[in-house]
Amino acid sequence: MKLRPPISDDDIEALLLGHLSPGRLFLVEVALAEQPMLRDRVDALWADQDALRSIAEDLLGEPVPARFLALLDDSAMPPVRRRHGT
């Protein structure tokens, strides 16, 4: 007998993005506790997203090249286009 509606792909996606309402989050967590295969899958997807975000976080720490800042700084001057390698 099913006591709860099954969780959907949208629920999983919302879980990964942190968009579930507290009530729905509880239902999803119960479902995951009851379904080890689904839980493993979600854990793996979560770890992938974490890895991707850590790569992204690292890139964000890089200093912005001066040529970009110069484009923004000098409002009076028309932007100078410089192509890489020329």
Partner: protein, 178 residues
């Protein structure tokens, strides 16, 4: 510096990161950022204060990429050597570090349309509607692409994480001296 320019400046690191993760060539990525910036600055008065500057910039970047593609008649997503993410954070845990490297590599194998949604939503924090607007596709398409991107990334990683049966057979044959 006025408010608009400041808002643009604030988004600059993210814009650059998006280009770096989308393209596998850092030099090409920075050229793209530069072209996008030039266009954004000249259209800055069209950006409405209070709306999402990030989404606006991603839209411009996408248009620039699309024009490049048509002009050059080549895919801007082709690998040109170099790794978009060769600076991988040094994780305290070696296993975690290997994981990140694996994900980094697997991500580069995704089709560009899937990279875009993955980055816009899971990394840059746009919602479905904003991403749909940036990409010029319906929300449903954004959702299905994101789901597909996650599954494909996982499938690639599953394949590399599991031992290959053929290798086992090979090892067994070696042991038997066949």
């Amino acid at each position: 510096m006025d408010t608009r320019r400041q808002a643009l400046l604030d988004e600059l690191p993210r814009l650059r990161r998006y280009a770096r993760m989308l393209l596998n060539d850092p030099a090409h990525a920075d050229d793209l950022v530069q072209d996008c910036l030039v266009r954004a600055i000249s259209n800055l008065d069209r950006w409405q204060l209070g709306t999402n500057m990030r989404a606006w910039l991603f839209t411009i970047m996408r248009n620039v990429l699309f024009n490049d593609l048509r002009r050059a008649r080549r895919s801007p997503f082709l690998d040109c050597g170099g790794d978009a993410m060769d600076t991988v954070p040094v994780a305290a845990d070696q296993e975690q570090r290997m994981r990140v490297l694996d994900v980094d590599k697997a991500f580069t194998l995704l089709p560009s349309a899937h990279k875009e949604v993955f980055l816009l939503i899971a990394v840059e924090g746009l919602d479905y509607e904003e991403a749909a607007q940036v990409l010029g596709v319906p929300v449903g398409t954004v959702k299905s692409r994101l789901s597909r991107a996650r599954s494909d990334l996982r499938a690639t990683l599953d394949k590399s994480e599991k031992p290959q049966p053929q290798d086992d057979d090979f090892a067994e044959r070696i042991r038997r001296g066949a």
